[in-house]
């Protein structure tokens, strides 16, 4: 007895079935099809019902506004209530209706665990997965932490976020692990950042480290990498005449951007990168930015002790 096609679709949380049976997905009409860099891919923001949605979305829309200031447009937003834990079929419907869509999402870790599984089931392409934390009190040696798994450096938001976070002069680190290396070897040209010293590991030149206020040895320990003194300094090849990538794209220098909090800045960086701003071609497998000023992020916004996950996926 074979199962009927209808029950397959209805009951399924494994999107491969659709492909296997050649059932076309429903294309959602979204008005952004020609908005971003001439891309035909639609983009949407997916807010996963976290207390941080609003701040993330604000940064996201700022990025969209900057990028599309000469093209018009805001990022359409879909808000989840509590569906991932209580009614995952709704998300299945949402993904099934997505065609040629780039989703940029924020979720808590509980929902993210489910969502990641759904992305795989739908044979979605996961461009980047970020885990973002801000510890309260003295929970951790570094209170603000961003860890990304990114398909390739092309989808890396780390450098842009680092440039934004340094403005507030609070301690942070950003670690990025790239699954596939970019094909361009630019000798760290694209990832160097003002105020940071840049290094590469001698025996693993695809491991790049950018430090401010901390030695490479200490930085590697702080971020959980194998402690090594074998870091080779790379002279910054960034001269002031070179224009930041985001500046080139937006006409807005990051120095002029001001964010209310780190979550907003993260939303900006994630979305800007997803839209093609600030992407770099740094050829590396791992990269970190470690910034220590001695100033911890103040808890006056109630935004420390918070965690969330960001996704950029194509379905």
């Amino acid at each position: 007895m074979n199962e009927t096609r209808r029950s397959l679709i209805k009951g399924m949380l494994t999107g491969g079935t659709l492909l296997a049976f050649g059932i076309p997905t429903v294309t959602q009409a979204v008005s952004l099809s020609q908005t971003f860099s001439g891309s035909t891919r639609n983009c949407q923001l997916l807010l996963g019902n976290t207390p941080l949605d609003e701040a993330f979305a604000k940064g996201a829309q700022t990025a969209c506004t900057h990028y599309s200031s000469y093209r018009q447009g805001t990022l359409p937003t879909f808000k989840l209530e509590d569906e991932l834990l209580t009614n995952p079929l709704r998300i299945v419907d949402l993904l099934m209706q997505s065609s040629n869509m780039r989703w940029i999402a924020i979720m808590d870790h509980g929902s993210a665990a489910i969502f990641t599984e759904m992305v795989r089931n739908f044979e979605g392409r996961l461009l980047s997965l970020g885990s973002h934390s801000s510890s309260s009190g003295t929970d951790a040696s570094f209170p603000m932490r961003h860890m990304w798994t990114t398909a390739t450096p092309v989808y890396s938001a780390g450098r842009l976020l680092a440039s934004l976070l340094t403005q507030s002069q609070h301690d942070f680190f950003i670690v990025e692990n790239f699954l596939g290396q970019a094909v361009v070897d630019s000798a760290m040209k694209d990832s160097s950042l003002a105020g940071f010293s840049s290094y590469r590991l001698t025996e693993q030149p695809a491991t790049h480290l950018h430090c401010a206020g901390v030695s490479p040895l200490e930085a590697s320990q702080l971020i959980g990498w194998r402690a090594s003194e074998d870091w080779k300094s790379v002279l910054s090849q960034r001269d002031e005449s070179s224009i930041d990538l985001d500046q080139a794209a937006t006409g807005t220098t990051i120095e002029h951007l001001r964010f209310d909090n780190w979550i907003e800045a993260t939303g900006y960086a994630v979305v800007a990168t997803a839209l093609g701003i600030g992407a770099n071609q740094d050829s590396c497998s791992s990269r970190a930015f470690v910034y220590r000023s001695g100033h911890r992020y103040p808890d006056n916004h109630g935004l420390s002790g918070k965690h969330f996950v960001s996704f950029v996926i194509d379905v």
């Binding site: 007895m1 074979n2 199962e3 029950s7 009951g11 399924m12 949380l13 494994t14 491969g16 079935t17 296997a20 991932l84 834990l85 209580t86 995952p88 079929l89 808590d108 870790h109 509980g110 993210a112 665990a113 489910i114 990641t116 599984e117 759904m118 992305v119 795989r120 089931n121 044979e123 979605g124 392409r125 996961l126 997965l129 885990s131 973002h132 934390s133 510890s135 309260s136 009190g137 929970d139 951790a140 570094f142 932490r145 860890m147 798994t149 398909a151 390739t152 692990n177 790239f178 699954l179 596939g180 094909v183 702080l222 971020i223 959980g224 002790g305 918070k306 965690h307 969330f308 194509d314």
Partner: protein, 514 residues
């Protein structure tokens, strides 16, 4: 030199891997052989305190037929390419879909998701590995079959084949899933297709009703193992009972766990309570209602005072006992009297009926699990601390009260040493008792990640030294756990592996078997 692959199988050259991928594509088509970073990224996320790079696959294959799998294993044998088989890949907290070793090719069977048969009268199902519980649940409802499923906490998105093959459990009277398995079809490493039990006999219609067949019983060697690829799987379903009465019993003191287990054991063995009884600590239930940061900040495990405050704020016991009665109304009424008398004797228990606990979200999801309904609420555990780190620690003991406090004390002591919380529960089975602890940590915090690894390692060491075997573990610690069961068992596992899979192409490292 930059490879076109994000990883390569151990010992396989890129040239040979190119050839293998080319052959895979001839069998499956280009679209079903995934090699790009974007396509493979969803297979990589683990919650273990090790680098995801250690578990990065080189490719993923999406097979849809047994014949394709036979051809795939032939290619793997030719090029010595190892594959890691997943059905739905939802073994969250145990390694999820990521392979045990870097570079293994994931054989993803999610597209093999046909429900082949559901027999209403004999109450069994035969399914392919990609079938999810949600899919089967909807099928049963749609066809008004009057049957119940038993599933683990990730219910909707997980599936019966993967869960049972990893010897997972559920919460209905059919919750010891492998006990209710009946008949498998297995593609062996040499490409032969074995049907276990009565399935090997031509013209037999008893494959899903008689487990044993003739000769050595083989099904067990295909669970928690890497001896074959299960492509069809039979299992028994529970007839929907005329009545169902879930309940929760709360206790206020940790030492009450001794009395709880002593009360439950005879009720379980006699069948008065037919499902596995969950005795959840307040910190296991708290994430449904609160976050850790609402109560505590700073380093170290959560203090007792905060736990008591959580109990008070959210009407939790320190122990929360979830069980249910099934049967006719008359049977349930009789058994309810037995249960309430047994638990009521000491005067410590607060017994809450379904009506009295109806508004409690923790009870609501537990009740759903006990009647085989879909719920993903337990995933809120991952929000307790945040940061995405989780490992299930799962030692087994006898179902005796005397086994509880010493286990809990040892667990809390080791967790506290590393600044982690005790999110634990005991589950009383038929005669055994599982002690399930979710070791939750912040994977963005390198210090805590390192501490979590050391903590888990110490838990395994200390518990095994005391004779508490781990029944299931994540891929980062499979070798260690295999070692705790002694050299003879490991040797037998290896002998079987060599006999059935001489080239070692099937999931090397699974359960420590290579």
């Amino acid at each position: 030199m930059t490879s076109k692959y994000i990883a390569l199988p151990k010992g396989v050259s890129e040239k040979d891997f190119d050839a293998a991928i080319s052959d895979f594509r001839k069998v499956l088509g280009d679209a079903s052989v995934l090699t790009s970073a974007e396509q493979l990224a969803p297979y990589i996320k683990t919650m273990m305190p090790v680098s995801d790079a250690e578990h990065t696959p080189s490719a993923a294959l999406l097979a849809t037929t047994v014949e394709q799998i036979q051809k795939i294993v032939a290619i793997c044998n030719q090029y010595k390419v190892p594959i890691w088989m997943i059905s739905t890949g939802k073994n969250l907290g145990y390694g999820a879909a990521a392979p045990a070793e870097r570079g293994q090719v994931v054989l993803d069977l999610k597209r093999m998701n046909r429900i082949l048969e559901v027999d209403k009268d004999l109450a069994y199902a035969l399914v392919e590995p990609g079938v999810t519980y949600q899919q089967l649940y909807d099928y049963i409802k749609e066809h008004k079959l009057g049957l119940w499923l038993s599933m683990p906490a990730p219910s909707a998105i997980a599936g019966p084949v993967g869960n049972t093959l990893d010897r997972g459990v559920g919460y209905t009277p059919y919750g010891e899933h492998f006990l209710f398995a009946c008949g498998m079809e297995v593609v062996l490493a040499n490409g032969e297709v074995l049907r276990t039990g009565m399935g090997s006999m031509p013209n037999s219609n008893t494959w899903q009703v008689f487990k044993w067949g003739y000769g050595p019983y083989l099904d067990g060697i295909f669970t928690q193992s890497n001896y074959g690829i299960v492509t069809k799987f039979g299992f028994w379903l529970m007839p929907e009972p005329p009545a169902f009465r879930p309940f929760v019993i709360q206790y206020q003191h940790e030492e009450d766990i001794v009395e709880i287990v002593e009360t439950i054991r005879p009720l379980r063995i006699s069948g008065v309570i037919p499902n596995a009884v969950v005795i959840a600590h307040a910190l296991y239930e708290a994430p449904v209602k609160a976050k850790r940061s609402d109560y505590v900040s700073g380093p170290g495990s959560i203090p007792d005072e905060a736990v008591y405050q959580i109990m008070k704020d959210h009407k939790l016991g320190i122990w929360n006992v979830y069980a249910a009665l099934y049967g006719t109304q008359e049977q349930i009424d009789v058994n309810w009297n037995i249960v309430t008398q047994a638990f009521g004797q000491s005067g410590k228990a607060k017994i809450l009926t379904e009506q009295e606990a109806a508004d409690d979200p923790a009870f609501a999801y537990r009740a759903k699990l006990m009647r085989g309904d879909m719920t993903l609420t337990e995933f809120s555990l991952y929000n307790w601390r945040g940061g995405g780190g989780s490992m299930w620690f799962a030692p087994v003991s006898q179902a005796r009260g005397s086994e509880t406090l010493k286990q809990m004390a040892l667990t809390k002591q080791i967790l506290a040493k590393y600044g982690l919380d005790y999110s634990g529960e005991f589950i009383v089975g038929m005669r055994d008792m599982h002690h399930i602890v979710d070791v939750l940590y912040d994977k963005t915090d390198p210090e805590q990640t390192k501490a979590a690894y050391q903590c888990f390692d110490e838990l395994l060491t200390e518990f095994s030294a005391r004779g508490y075997g781990i029944y299931r573990v994540n891929t980062a610690f499979m070798d260690k756990v295999a070692e705790t069961y002694g050299p003879v068992q490991r040797s037998v596992h290896k002998t079987l592996k060599k006999a059935l899979d001489p080239n070692g192409i099937l999931a090397p490292g699974k359960s420590g078997i290579r």
